[in-house]
Amino acid sequence: MSFWQFLQLNWSELLLLVRQHVVLVFISILIAVVIGVPTGVLLTRYRALRGPVLGLANVMQTIPSLALFGFLIPLPFIGGIGTRTALVALVLYSLLPIIRNTVTGILGVDPNVREAAVAMGMTSSQVLRQVELPLAMGVIVTGIRVATVIAVGVTTIAAAVGAGGLGVYIFRGLRQYDNNLLLAGALSAAALALAADFFLGWLQLQFSFETKRSDSRSTVLKLALAAGVLILVVGGLIFLRDRDPSKSGGQARVSVGSKDFTESALLAEIAAQMLEARGVSVERRFELGGNLPHEAMVSGTLDLYPEYTGTSYTAILHHTPISDPRAVYDQVKQEYATRFNVEVSPPLGFENTFAILVRGEEARRLNLKTISDAARQTPRWRAGFGQDFMSRADGYPGFSKTYGLRFAEVREMDLSLTYIALSSRQVDLVAGNSTEGRIATLDLFQLADDRRYFPPYEAVYLVRQDSLTRVPALHEVMAKLANGISTDEMRRLNYEIDGNKRDPKEVVKEWLAKRGF
């Protein structure tokens, strides 16, 4: 698909993301100005505060943005996932340039002019409002300009905490190796940054008294016009957002989350559409990074998200991996109920575990069915494994030991490249995801884990118990989906998104119609 076609197909979603992006940047800069300028003024009055406060603001800006979001998530009131956390982080990032430039601007006012103001009998607040602030305004606006451009960039990270914005496309593009998504996200963000820079540069010029001439009486008019346009645009964006139907207060409301990969988002979309079909209004909080969905659900921000039993068992509950699917499921179900008040749905019918893959043609030629069958061949084979598989507890070291495997060569590479590498004979065996769509389309064969080395990763939904009581439709949806999706079906759905680059909502809608859900 060409970039142009992509834009034609996705322009409405792109506009929505641009809108979210602009609103996030605008609101955070507004808050940062309201906090930063008075703080800067205070620092010019109390010299002793200057070092510590500027130092603190400096430290804030050196924290990597993803880490800052990480720190904020567990905090009460300002933390959690979504817009609020993103705003807090963005404000913290924007403060330094605004405070610093306010201080620099005010201290830079010609001392003769300030003295004249005092000697004219101005009170200190008159000196500030009529002389110092207007004369410092050019420098302050420069600070706001710098802060805004930084905020446009940092806001792309906000997608990781579910606040939306163009980062959604950038993250998705990185995951799916989709240049169209990456381009659309990155180019739009760059365009926004340039537009903001241009506008604020113009504004700065209007405030610069060096350029003031007697013919600039229309300055006030121009400024008023600019302010009007800005308020209209941003106000319109906020208003539009408020009219978003998924946000309007319906009878029952459910917040559905997902992790940041295609399959998780698909499963969440399935649940979301089934709930909507039952008159429940759904808030989608998709593509959340790391353990965010878990934390968000425990804190009550999310009602539901798809998870894998093995992940819950090892990453959340910190147990050592075991291979019995029943035991893992029962343990997870029981511990989630007592520890988190979270219900685990019946298994959906497929696993997303490591799949040891070989080329289908080779499997047929050598009559390979299981990993044990392949062990005889491996000393002549090259293997390709993702970084994750090489490092994790249930990964390569135990795997090669369990089956007594030796390889001619082991290459560590990016997981999503391994499939292509295998089919194009760069390597002969890889560890992929069992539900990867390209397994079927590239004619790859999954060898059976005959010694049951890999822990079970059965797909389930996790649902808050109080949500189940509040929204009875949740029971019905969970029951319908029990054993409702086979591994093959999941591969096909994944491929529709990753391979055919189709819209997940469409794909899910089709599938639900076909299944009669």
């Binding site: 002019v113 103001a117 101005m122 004369l135 008294f209 003031k212």
Partner: protein, 253 residues
């Protein structure tokens, strides 16, 4: 209140001023009478600007007292005090982001005059200092020459009709011809408006043209306070040094 005190607009009584342990003004006694122009003459760092700034309480004396209209500056509300005193500094100290009209009308605006009254006053004052209101009112300070800016500075100081003017090297940055004409006009103006003025300068020629009395300042003290005629006749070594520069200048021309 005695007759003498009533005649005196500004009085310094045994004033000392020190900044972080250094004496800047030592034991200063001085009386400025209503209607007179007193010039404080001295080289840089002699304390003449500091003396001026103690009148409108930009500085407060470390010891002794400064009285304005019979009341010590400490007893005055500083804002009220400053609005009764016009202040002119080098280059005028104009606000670069205000038009000329707004600069001149500043103190009246602070005092809450109606816009109509301010506009009338600005027109009157600009004409008084020799600037055409139509041409200059809406301009910004950057668009004016140094001499024009200085005129605006004087107009601004006169705006609320204060009884007292303080001028700190007001004509210092001007070229000699502009300076000479502004000095003459200023002398006329203060006489005509019967303003009291304290003017600080290092230019002995300026002191002789403008002053009714000259106060010679040296190292934070006031060794001499005399009329211009007495000044020229004095054999104080500082005075002789000043007069020599004057003669040297004369020989140049």
């Amino acid at each position: 209140m005695t007759d003498v005190a009533d005649k005196a607009l500004v009085e310094f009584h045994n004033v000392n001023f020190s900044l972080s342990g250094t004496n800047i003004i030592t034991d200063l006694n001085l009386t400025v009478e209503r209607g007179e122009t007193l010039v404080l003459l001295g080289e840089s760092g002699c304390g003449k600007t500091t003396t001026l700034k103690m009148v409108n309480r930009l500085f407060e004396p470390s010891a002794g007292e400064v009285r304005v209209e019979g009341k010590t500056t400490i007893a005055w509300d500083p804002i009220a005090l400053r609005r009764r005193i016009g202040y002119v500094i080098q280059e005028g100290g104009l606000f670069p982001h205000f038009t000329i009209a707004r600069n001149v009308g500043l103190v009246p605006a602070l005092a809450g005059w109606s816009q109509k009254r301010i506009d009338d006053r600005v027109r009157e004052l600009l004409s008084l200092v020799g600037l055409d209101p139509k041409r200059f009112a809406d301009r910004y300070p950057r668009e004016l020459s140094g001499g024009q800016r200085q005129r605006v500075g004087v107009a601004r100081a006169l705006a609320a009709d204060p009884p007292l003017l303080l001028l700190d090297e007001p004509f210092g940055a001007l070229d000699p011809l502009t300076r000479a004409s502004l000095q003459r006009e200023f002398a006329d103006l203060t006489t005509r408006l019967s303003k009291t003025a304290i003017l600080v300068t290092h230019d002995v020629r300026e002191a002789l043209i403008l002053a009714r009395r000259i106060g010679l300042m040296h190292k934070g003290r006031l060794p001499l306070l005399v009329t211009p005629e007495e000044f020229l006749a004095s054999d104080h070594p500082q005075v002789r040094a000043y007069i020599e520069t004057l003669e040297l200048k004369g020989a140049d021309h």
